[in-house]
Amino acid sequence: MSVADRLPEGDAERAALLGLGLIAFALAFAASPLTAIIPTGLSVFFEVGVLFVVYGILVLGLDLQYGHTGLVNFGHVVFFAVGGYTVAILAAQNSFSGTSLGYPWPLALVAGVITAGVVGAIVGATSLRLRDDFLAIATLAAAEIFHSVTVNVQGIFGGSTGILSIPRPIRTAAGDYDTMMIVTLVLFSGLTALTYAGLTRLTDAPYGRVLRAIRADELVTRSVGKSVFTYKMQAFVYGAALAGFAGGIFALYNGALSPEFFTIQVTVTVWIGMLLGGASNHRAVLGGLAVIMGLRLFSRFANDAVPVTATEFASLRLIAIGMILVLVIRYRPAGIWGDPDELGVDS
């Protein structure tokens, strides 16, 4: 019997195995005295790669909310930001702006996840009963409020400078920068794979069927005795807590946070990734996000090749992203790998 035969059958189990494998490898590599060198010019791949896996956790959580349950959360970045800032404030040591309390980082990470979940519960309790498009506006408003609070309240959030000197455990363990980037990418990929495994288990279970029933027809779901609001609330809080986790690990990787990491751009990026790939399919949303992040990577190189300034180029990239969103909705409403029948859209 070969190794391949002994691999588990299910998608979720395989992803879990892959995730644990990646995490074990990353930890072993970080603990070992071995170092690695990333060839010059390739480090940008690692930077965008890390961002991709962090956003991957965001898009998986968002897909649980929108793709499976039909909750139009257009303020997903707020939970990412709440998680990040909670970790930053609790774990940072002697940051010269904002508050830094200097608690151990694992505690801060747990607190970040819980805080994001609690904020999700508050936003959910207040707005989940609204019609779809008003839910989008209410969540968007929540994100804008939090963003302007982080910019304006300098005593706690450090204003536009943000919070610095957040501990970077991977950096400490890995030693040099190149090794850290590799370890981070592998470790975070493992975490994203574990998220994927957990969510696949959740949505393949009868629980996931109820969520999809809610998306398809709330009234019918309620009439068969399911408490629609409770399910919606749970899906919303799970997504929020996952985003908080993503924000927390991002803070611990980056070592500094400022409001510019948490603009509406993040929400737009994960939404486009999700719609482009095909909502309600965990693999497809990651694929769609990969396309968008690939575009970002490509644009970093393309900027050197065309004679426009960096600001103009940034605008051109945003125009491209906006047009992709418009065109996907118009011509492929189910996304590239999505199933139109499943989503109940015409395409």
Binding site: T126, D133, I137, E218, L318, I329
Partner: protein
């Protein structure tokens, strides 16, 4: 500065928000979409007006901006929104978010990030000798000044309210718009050309956005985020008033304007940036307490 002065500022802000919020809420009521790109329509109006003001006297430039706004709005609707009219509110909202991103960055490429100022002469009218009624460091009444710009903005707003009221109650097109806002199917049964009415609404909303854009530009300045900076206030005003209701939007806009002005006055100076967030706090509070707004429509579903 006293309370009275801040109320004046609030009324001025409320006036241009109201003009834009009417356009926004008409689109919501009749096309059934939240148009998140509407702020960019204001920006386009402000830029068209600014360019025209270089060649023409200001009142003529305002007219050019209004016509320009109407044309742009109809063209964008024809390109982006009409083809997906049947897909429902969420895809249309998402499309408008994408379109807003595109428009904002197209404008940024052509206009850069710098601010431009309308060349206007202003006169200032002051009251003298109104007694101060201090409460702590804050003054409950106080002297008031009003500039001619303030008067122009408020005057335009009142004129718009009268014209819109006349349009919606006295003309066939306006009555058909209200009918469509109530029930599109019944309107069609009665022989109303719904696509024609939709196009009229797009033009009307564009004209209003053009006017509001120029007024915002005169009050502050013209730059790439002139409109985007106000979209959330416009949205808050429209929802506060009861989405789809023009009269509600007017009332909502003045509430938002005064809340923003007063919170600028009351907040500590290093937190004045929070004043526009106050508009959202009001919005979220309204969605919680009375999601149907001041005037009406039901937005809660479960």
């Amino acid at each position: 500065m006293g309370l009275a002065q801040n109320i004046v500022f609030g009324l001025v802000t409320g006036s241009y928000i109201a003009i834009a919020a009417i356009g926004f809420t008409l689109i919501y009521g009749i096309v059934d979409m939240i148009n998140f790109a509407y702020g960019e329509y204001l920006t386009i109006g402000a830029f068209v007006g600014f360019l025209a003001a270089g060649l023409l006297p200001l009142p003529a430039a305002v007219l050019v901006a209004m016509v320009g706004g109407g044309v742009v709005s109809l063209a964008l609707a024809w390109l982006f929104f009409t083809p997906i009219n049947e897909t429902g509110p969420v895809p249309m909202l998402l499309t408008s978010i994408g379109l807003g991103l595109v428009l904002r960055n197209v404008i940024r490429i052509f206009a850069g990030g710098s601010a431009r100022y309308y060349d206007t002469t202003t006169e200032t009218f002051r009251t003298q000798g109104i007694p101060e009624v201090p409460v702590g460091s804050f003054d409950l009444v106080g002297d008031v000044y009003v500039t001619s710009e303030h008067l122009v903005v408020v005057g335009c707003a009142v004129a718009v309210f009268l014209v819109i009221h006349g349009l919606l109650t006295r003309t066939d097109v306006g009555i058909a718009m209200r009918a469509m806002g109530d029930s599109e199917d019944l309107a069609r049964v009665r022989g109303i050309d719904t696509q024609f009415i939709r196009n009229s609404v797009w033009i009307l909303a564009g004209v209003l956005a053009g006017l509001a854009g120029v007024l915002v530009g005169i009050q502050t300045n013209v730059n790439v985020t002139t409109g985007y900076a106000h979209i959330l206030q416009i949205l808050a005003a429209a929802i506060l008033g009861g989405a789809g209701s023009p009269y509600g939007a007017i009332a909502g806009a003045y509430v938002i304007g005064i809340v923003v002005a007063l919170s600028t006055a009351f907040l500590p100076s290093h937190m004045t940036g929070l004043s526009s967030a106050m508009a959202f706090v009001v919005l979220v509070a309204v969605l919680l307490v009375k999601p149907s707004g001041i005037a009406g429509a039901e937005v809660r579903e479960a």
